[in-house]
């Protein structure tokens, strides 16, 4: 049963998020207009950055140059991370003496963190050294998030009515996203987390004897610092295998709420930044509204489904909803909310076992990802992916008001439609093809833990999550086998799953990213047509509803057959599968 207290918790969270959005949006608007900061004494660090990078902050890049810079940074990051993972054995801060990662797993992990996915085939505390966590993963958590924000800002510039046909300078946007948005907020969050009991230590694992008398070692590490950016940058890669369900990552109900807000803060705030940058705040609110409507509906369904329990549980005589795989300190609402927050945003942090959700409760997180991560989505990527759906909506709807379609006064032509199709269809196509390849081959079936529809769900969830750069998992699906041996001896990756997933993450990240930059490049410098009574206003509730419908139809029509065979079957039957 859902409770009034539970709904109140959900409502309070929604109110907090909505209140935070314009504040952070305005702040980011100021940051990326940022010349005032640059000139002031606070800009000393920023100016230093440009001197090192040999960048003239006033220089503008067209979309190609901008995309090239993004790719250069990402490729450099990928190589660096891959190198760190592969040579882990010789690095310091490795109290447990973990060996270097195998090639296939390292490929998957490097692709995962550079693409802001943070899909984890490995378990952090039994695979990675503190050095790999800090210098490898945490750095990429910052870099990939800053890349996403920078691209979103560049895309907004293309949509806005500037007279320039360029998109700004990547190095400047990237630096500002790091210096003024991610670092200070992450720092404050880390302090808050430490104060609430999140671990921050370089000490080796603490050994103790449990109540049953078993000898056990609990890993420690620089958790709080990584936890903050894991959430803020919608990265989601936990220090520990069980992610935010672990008390050392997420100790209390309060921290749980702060974590969820941290996940959605920047993606939501960027909608307001968008509104300000295009000179129409209502436009920003329309996008926020469309995202929020999806979000609210998803939370309601998951909470109701989990509180109701599954047919199989009812058959077994278990009443009172589905508590399997949930932390009692977060309860049904705190878990349902987190499951939705983490999947609407492309975060992927989890505070419960997603696999243990009910059929319908598990279908919703999947469906959230299947929308292409546009319901708030990843930092930056959520907004720019959403804008592509807005283009689709405007294209069809614009026709229905009797004008050739235009968005914010700019005509949408064949080139933009083509790029939008590439940008919006890349992730679903990748997800479907990868799932089919995995489900139809013996190589892919090796990764599945459970049989029947649950095994299908695991596979589908894995590739939908990776292709859409989410990173959360139905825990069963594996790409790395670890015998319980000291130093990780004898561990090996499942090459098929590692490479397929890694490829899906990279393509799912960079195809839409380049496509949307190309769209922005095409729109930039185009004269905006002034609004008249005959032009379709895109800042209205009607248009918001249309955008929702477009996203829903595209996602639904693409994934319904797959959803039917996985979670829906489970939601409709009380049969137990192997």
């Amino acid at each position: 049963m859902t409770t009034a207290q539970g709904w109140l918790q959900v409502g309070l969270f929604c109110a907090l998020l909505t209140a935070l959005t314009p504040l952070l949006g305005a702040y980011m608007h100021k940051v990326f207009r940022g010349d005032a900061i640059l000139a002031s004494s606070a800009g000393r660090v920023e100016r230093g950055f440009y001197r090192i990078l040999r960048v003239d902050p006033g220089e503008e890049q067209d979309w190609k140059a901008y995309a090239r810079s993004v790719l250069v940074v990402s490729l450099g990051s990928w190589l660096l991370l891959y190198l760190i993972l592969r040579t882990q054995g010789i690095h310091p801060f490795n109290p447990a003496g973990f060996s270097s990662g195998p090639a296939d797993l390292s490929f998957n992990t490097a692709s995962s963190f550079v693409s802001n996915t943070n899909w984890q085939f490995y378990a952090g505390e039994t695979t990675l050294s503190n050095f790999s966590q800090m210098a490898g993963l945490a750095v990429q958590n910052f870099v990939s998030a800053a890349v996403g924000i920078a691209v979103a800002i560049a895309v907004i510039r293309g949509f806005s009515n500037r007279s320039l046909s360029t998109l700004g300078c990547f190095w400047v946007d990237f630096t500002r996203a790091l210096l003024y948005v991610l670092l200070p907020i992450a720092f404050a969050l880390a302090l808050l987390f430490v104060s609430q009991g999140v671990v921050q230590s370089l000490a080796p694992a603490r050994a103790f004897t449990s109540l049953e008398g078993a000898e056990q070692a609990i890993a420690l590490g620089p958790v709080a610092s990584q936890e903050a950016i894991k959430l803020l940058g919608t990265n989601g890669g936990g220090f520990f295998n069980v992610n935010s369900a672990m008390p050392f990552e997420n100790p209390s109900g309060l921290v749980n709420v702060v974590q969820m807000l941290a996940i959605l803060a920047i993606p939501a705030g960027l909608t307001a930044t968008f509104g300000r940058m295009v000179g129409n705040r209502r436009q920003g609110w329309m996008i926020y509204g469309a995202m929020f409507a999806f979000f609210a509906a998803a939370v309601a369904i998951v909470y109701a489904a989990e509180a109701h329990g599954s047919p199989a549980q009812h058959l077994a005589g278990i009443a009172g909803g589905n508590l399997e795989g949930k932390e009692t300190r977060f309860g049904m609402p705190g878990t349902s909310l987190f499951a939705v927050v983490t999947t609407v945003a492309s975060c992927g942090a989890v505070n419960a076992a997603m696999e243990s959700l009910t059929g319908i409760g598990g279908a919703i997180p999947m469906a959230n990802m299947m929308t292409g991560e546009v319901i708030f989505g990843g930092v930056g990527s959520g907004l720019y992916s959403m804008l592509m759906f807005v283009i689709l909506a405007v294209f069809v709807a614009g026709l229905m008001v009797g004008r050739t379609p235009e968005l914010l006064g700019k005509k949408i032509g064949a080139r933009e439609v083509k790029l939008t199709m590439i940008g919006t269809l890349a992730a679903p196509l990748l997800a479907l093809v990868a799932t089919a390849a995995a489900i139809a081959s013996g190589h892919g079936l090796r990764s599945i833990h459970n049989g029947g529809p649950q095994g299908f769900s695991e596979t589908l969830y894995a590739y939908v999550s990776q292709a859409n750069n989410n990173g959360s998992a139905f825990a069963g699906y594996t790409g790395f086998v670890q015998p319980n041996a000291p130093g990780n001896a004898g561990a090996f990756g499942l090459t098929f799953a590692d490479l397929l997933g890694g490829g899906a993450m990279l393509a799912g990240r960079f195809l839409p990213l380049v496509a949307v930059l190309a769209i922005a490049g095409a729109l930039a410098g185009r004269t905006a047509h002034p609004d008249g009574p005959g032009t379709l206003r895109t800042d209205t509730a009607t248009f918001g509803a249309l955008t929702i419908g477009t996203i829903l139809l595209v996602a639904l029509l693409t994934f319904v057959p797959a959803l039917l065979l996985g979670p829906v079957v489970q939601g409709l039957t009380d049969r137990m599968f192997r």
């Binding site: 009797g402 004008r403 083509k418 479907l432 004269t527």
Partner: protein, 713 residues
């Protein structure tokens, strides 16, 4: 607009158009179901199955490939062979699917063929008038009309057909242009001025003209018109290309959805046959809009031709839907061609009757519309009857540019009317002085936007006639209509700003350009365009040509000069400047129809999923050991369809039938309502979005009732 009788004789009589939306002198509207067109269209539809043609429309090409594939499977089944893709389908099922897939492809071709057929029927009428005539060259000799070259000069006498498009360089003649305009009253064509263009195929009724040919062989107006209505020179418009990409993208994703469904279903232990998967694919891809897209475009052009507008490219028609600003000439468009007397203002000590009598006398021999309007006003206001001047010893003094006045000398008395300063000088020359009241009255009238015409008898000023521009009936409603469509109207006039402002207010236009020169018009258009607006303009004179060329939509009057006709991207055969309203409506309709059918097509997919997916997965994950048991997904069969196979067949039958059912809508176009964009969007979303969501649930269920219950599938 109609019912005005004051049009001057040289005014093109065909410039009396019908009201927008109501049928004026229109081309005969053909019934959709005219048997001759239908038969040809059916044959064409089959001919269009040629894959080399089909591949240009990716959506329908996929349908054809699917039909072929299913047919092959059936052929193997029918011959008793084993084929993996058939699953446990009975042969009748495969055949039924194959037949309906072929029908889907044929229905799509049929829609296009009907649209083309209607155009071709029009072209045939046009072609019939392209008679081979022998042209008489001015330099002597003759050659067949078809061999005339650019720059040839021909003489056309009464009763002869004008051999080609050209400009009259000498003479004046009345010409019957009914062949291309459908208007039976003859028009005047004369050398010089704005009515010098003639069209090949039209007939000279009286007099003789010398025409310089301005076309290359085979590129006449008539040739272009035929090519246009036949759709031969049809190229995809930018928006059509963009929409095509969208549809191709959707087709691609559904192709992947269906291809990946096979391994997905295989994992669940459910077999899927080729016939079933192809059915699902064809049901999902946007066949409705894919099949009707080109018919919509052809029909749009056709609707314009029916309104006697010739668009020289589809791009221009599309652009007309986007027009934001409309430039209209004042004279002849907003106001009647000429000013009319509205008031007599007598000087102190002069009665109105005295002034009116003198004014009437001075105007009796004045055949200009202004002159006649003075006579009419004198009669209407004061009952002063017309007099016969012939019997009296009257000498008429005509207007000249030097004197700037006209009048009459009658029995020693001279009456003059004319520009204020001219009359003042005349009075002073006669030894009198103009009273200050004259200047005051003249200034007042000018300030009110009228034209003052002073009247004097010998050395005495009698008063002033107030000539006014008369705004045509119904203009205000038309501009309100345009405003509701989101279009600003700008009146362009050579008048001074005061006069212009007055008329602009009276007519209800949004803005005006006074003292307009060709340069000023061009600059105004460029200024609007720089602000991102789409500008439409109508014009007829040679000096309009640069502006017509610069405008995004330039509508040249058929009565205009050759230069104007070449510069514009549309020609209005009725020479009705307010025709732009209808052109814009056709452009908007075209876009709305595309958007509405796309939305409908995609929204349909939801119901088709509900029909087909439960059918495919009815037995998936059924409790083991029971052969006939249904699995959990059978619960999604919300339509309660007869059997899995009946469900699939019903879905593709519905999918196919919806195409011919929507052909009339595609050809007629979705009505444009000037409600404002958001209201229009809401309305169309409700009708075509929500309608598209619901309609197939009903349709598929109905088909299923027939297929399952009557045919026993």
């Amino acid at each position: 607009m109609t019912g005005q009788t004051l049009a001057p004789p040289q005014h093109d009589p065909s410039a009396a158009p019908g009201e927008p939306g109501r049928d004026g002198p229109r081309r005969r509207a053909r019934s959709l179901l005219e048997p001759a067109i239908l038969t040809t269209a059916l044959l064409d539809a089959l001919r269009k199955l040629d894959p080399r043609r089909m591949v240009r429309n990716p959506v329908m090409f996929v349908v054809e490939v699917g039909a072929l594939l299913t047919t092959l499977v059936w052929a193997v089944q029918a011959l008793g062979g084993e084929i993996a893709g058939a699953g446990d389908d009975p042969a009748w099922y495969t055949l039924t699917v194959a037949v309906w897939l072929w029908l889907t492809a044929i229905f799509g071709n049929f829609a296009e063929a009907i649209a083309e057929g209607r155009g071709r029927a029009q072209a045939a009428t046009l072609r019939a008038m392209r008679r081979e005539t022998l042209a008489t060259l001015r330099d002597g000799g003759a050659k067949p009309a078809g061999e005339l070259l650019l720059g040839d000069v021909v003489v056309v006498a009464a009763g002869e057909t004008i051999p080609g498009d050209g400009t009259v360089i000498a003479g004046i003649a009345s010409v019957d242009e009914s062949a291309i305009t459908g208007e039976s009253a003859p028009v005047i064509r004369e050398a010089g001025g704005d009515r010098s263009a003639v069209t090949g195929g039209t007939q000279v009724l009286s007099d003789e003209i010398v025409v310089e040919i301005t076309q290359r062989p085979g590129e006449s107006f008539l040739d272009r018109m035929i090519a246009l209505v036949e759709g031969a020179s049809r190229r995809k418009t930018p928006n059509e290309i963009a929409l095509g990409i969208l549809l191709a993208g959707l087709t691609l994703i559904f192709l992947v959805v269906v291809v990946t469904l096979r391994p997905f279903a295989g994992y669940a232990g459910t077999a899927t046959s080729i016939a079933t998967l192809v059915s699902l694919l064809v049901a999902l891809i946007p066949t409705t809009i894919g099949a009707l897209l080109s018919a919509i475009g052809i029909a749009g052009m056709d609707r314009l031709v029916r309104r006697n507008v010739l668009a020289l490219s589809g791009r221009a028609v599309e652009a007309s839907g986007d027009v934001d600003v409309l430039l209209l000439d004042k004279t002849g468009t907003i106001t009647l061609g000429n000013r009319q007397a509205a008031e007599f203002v007598p000087m102190p000590g002069v009665s109105e009757r005295e002034l009116a009598e003198a004014a009437q006398l001075a105007s009796l021999a004045d055949e200009t519309p202004e002159g006649r309007s003075i006579v009419v006003l004198a009669k209407e206001r004061l009952g002063i009857r017309g007099r016969e001047l012939a019997g009296l010893d009257a000498r008429f003094v005509p207007f000249t540019a030097q004197t700037r006045m006209s009048g009459v000398d009658l029995g020693g008395v001279s009456v003059r009317k004319g520009a204020g300063d001219a009359i003042e000088r005349w009075i002073e020359a006669a030894g009198g002085t103009a009273p200050p009241a004259l200047t005051t009255a003249i200034e007042r009238i000018a300030r009110d936007g009228g034209t003052p015409l002073a009247v004097a008898r010998d050395d005495r000023a009698l008063g002033v006639i107030h000539l006014k521009d008369v705004v045509k009936d119904g203009m205000r409603q038309r501009f309100d209509h345009l405003r509701a469509m989101g279009i600003r109207t700008v009146m362009v006039t050579g008048d001074n700003p005061l006069t212009a402002a007055k008329i602009a207010r009276e007519a209800g236009v949004d803005d005006f350009l006074a003292e307009a020169t060709p340069e000023a018009k061009l600059a105004l258009i460029r200024e609007h365009q720089a602000g991102g607006r789409m500008v439409a303009m109508t014009g007829d004179g040679t000096n309009d040509a640069p502006a017509l060329a610069q405008a995004d939509v330039g509508v040249a009057m058929n009565s205009g000069t050759h230069a104007a006709r070449e510069a514009g991207n549309m020609v209005d055969l009725d020479s009705d400047p307010t025709k732009l309203i209808e052109i814009v409506e056709v452009g908007k309709q075209l876009l709305i129809t595309r958007g509405a059918l796309t939305t409908f097509s995609i929204a349909n997919d939801v119901a088709k999923y509900f029909a087909i997916l439960p059918a495919i997965f009815a037995a998936s994950y059924a409790a083991s050991g029971d052969e006939t048991a249904t699995g959990p997904l059978d619960a999604l069969d919300v339509m309660d369809l007869g059997s899995p196979r009946s469900a699939i067949v019903s879905a593709i039958v519905f999918n196919a039938l919806v195409i011919p059912l929507l052909v009339p809508l595609a050809l007629r176009g979705v009505r444009f309502r000037p409600l404002g964009a958001t209201a229009l969007l809401r309305r169309n979303l409700l009708v075509y979005g929500l309608g598209g969501l619901i309609a197939p649930f009903v349709g598929i269920k109905l088909v299923d009732l027939v297929v399952h219950n009557l045919l026993g599938a």
